[in-house]
Amino acid sequence: MNTIKMTHYETELNRIRKKVFSNQGQLDTVIGIRNYIDNNYDINLNLNVLSHLGFVSKYHLLRLFKRYYGQTPRQYLIDTRIKKSKEHLKNGMTVTETCFAVGFESLGSFSTLFKHKTGKTPAQFQKEQLSRSNLNFDSGICER
């Protein structure tokens, strides 16, 4: 059933959409670039590669991505790699394997960045996660 009366929120969204998100071509470009990063975060990605894909200049891409996602492609790539590396570490992959699996080229830069972003080194993070899952396992058994 469609309600005829729009809420204040919907009215505002429609107004903002027209003003801010009217350029569907630009949206398609940045959404495509983001999907590409999501699927290829593990290879050596840089602005040159991404701008070729989107058929736009490097600096235009940088500006567009930042405008629609609120962060640069590089920041988004790093966040994606850190997120994926957490999953790998939780699943028991070694720190070195994880580093290369998410596209970093040196263990040092991976560890430094990981610590900078999460407050822990990859090894500390993994140790905590694995002891946590053992704990959950134990308490699960106790409850039965």
Partner: protein, 131 residues
Amino acid sequence: MKITLISIPVRDQQKALEFYTEKLGFIVKKDAPLEGGNRWLTLVSKEAQDGPELLLEPAPNHFEPSKVYQDALMEAGIPWTQFDVENVDAEYERLLKLSVEFSVKPTQMGTVKFAVFNDTCGNNIQIVEML
């Protein structure tokens, strides 16, 4: 300083607990009795149990301006709180089957897709998927 908690005003903590765990799938992190039947009640996402906690805060029952503000947001259809989901369409279908009422169906806006539902405790809640 760390960001570890966000609060959401609810009219009935028990009812909210049931909605947020049974329908949304969050799990209880802390539940401690306070004065006057109120509880310090926090939830976390199942997939991020060490992530930020959501405090179910009974402010509208004890502080009139909170109630007025919550009512005004509800009336205007404004969601003050939003949660991330992997797939808005799938979540919309799942929640519909659980009789959750939506005021905004899955809609694209820029680089996100979102929908808005009623949490039955006084709030519009927005779910968002990044495109």
